[in-house]
């Protein structure tokens, strides 16, 4: 009888902790690993797979979907909903933007943003699939939390290529 009772208690605790963890990570903050070198040198400055950076992602920005230039965000890929990408926002809705790779001038549509990786050479981003709906954004990256020697806030770099609104 005792074993069944303790098993039941253990299951209850396990489910409770699971529910709370999922809720907090969906609504408030979560930690995700960064794979690949598209955001180097901000994340994964060295390209060896043993030292993937882990970053802290806050979800409070999803209440209002208010972002500023230079925010690093995670979003579902517009080409494959199962993939999550991590990139930097370079232009916001209704702005004019000069692309860095071929100097096109384009207007970001309403409700969209332009995202690019910090490592311009090897990054799949708005250069290949165009501007991304803000509705795909899943959170904003604020800190690197692992490995220990890289702990620190993510810097919001100044963006270039924005044209003054006409």
């Amino acid at each position: 009888m005792g074993t069944i009772n303790s098993l039941w208690n253990f299951t209850k605790k396990f489910v409770t902790i699971g529910l709370i963890t999922v809720t907090v990570s969906d609504r408030y903050v979560t930690v995700v690993p960064v794979r690949g070198g598209s955001m180097s040198p901000t994340f994964n400055p060295k390209t060896d797979s043993f030292t993937d950076d882990y970053v802290l992602v806050e979800r409070f920005c999803l209440e209002k979907y208010k972002f500023s230039h230079g925010d690093v965000v995670i979003f579902r890929s517009p080409l494959n909903y199962k993939e999550t990408h991590i990139k930097r926002i370079l232009a916001l809705p209704n702005e004019w933007y000069v692309t860095r790779h071929n100097n096109d001038v384009l207007r970001i549509p309403e409700g969209h943003c332009w995202v690019e990786g910090d490592n311009a050479g090897s990054s799949m981003d708005s250069k290949s699939y165009g501007s991304v709906p803000l509705g795909l954004v899943r959170g904003r990256v604020t800190h690197v939390v692992w490995p220990p020697h890289r702990i620190g806030a993510v810097k919001n770099t100044k963006t270039e290529g924005l044209l003054p609104s006409l």
């Binding site: 999922v22 080409l79 409700g111």
Partner: protein, 164 residues
């Protein structure tokens, strides 16, 4: 002192129970079913102009099984704070022919597009009064949140909405 301690303990237990309940609600809402209120002219005659309440499930979109004729709730590509309800007309790779301007029948331009990878084409059933893919183009699959499957309110239409 003992009384004070038991009051604090009870308050803590009540709060914890309430928190657990909210977490449970969050998980069922986000991973299983979610009630949605829908109104507006764009899905007439299937969905009425007046507010009605539906149940929408999250499992089909999450497992990638959304197909033609499903009625889905998705985040508007034009305004991320709004969600809209439309019918899926085309999946990736389909070619869609649509009339860009159905009000003026004299200059009805037929346009054909191929839905790109990872996108779907959504349209309202009421083509004369609907802002949909004819206006903002195909939407990424990732914007789809849930699929309508049950009507709850008004009560006289209570029942399955799976194949409407």
């Amino acid at each position: 002192m003992g009384l004070f301690r038991s009051v604090v303990k009870e308050a803590w237990e009540k709060t914890f129970l309430f928190t657990k309940f909210l977490c449970f609600l969050h998980v069922t809402d986000n991973y299983l079913v979610d009630p949605v209120k829908i109104y507006g002219p764009s899905m007439l005659p299937v969905i009425d102009l007046n507010p009605s309440i539906f149940l929408a499930e999250r499992i089909t979109p999450r497992s990638g099984k959304i197909t033609h004729r499903d009625i889905v709730v998705f985040r508007s590509p034009q305004n991320p704070r709004r969600t809209v309800t439309k019918r899926v007309i085309g999946l990736e790779g389909d070619s869609i022919t649509y009339v860009s301007n159905p009000e003026n029948s004299d200059n009805d331009k037929h346009e054909t597009v191929v839905v790109p990878k990872g996108h779907v084409w959504v349209q309202g059933d009421n083509k004369y009064n609907s802002t949909d893919s004819r206006h903002f183009g195909p939407i990424p699959y990732g914007l789809i949140e849930s699929k309508i499957f049950w009507k709850v309110f008004p009560l006289d239409d209570f029942g399955s909405f799976w194949r409407k």
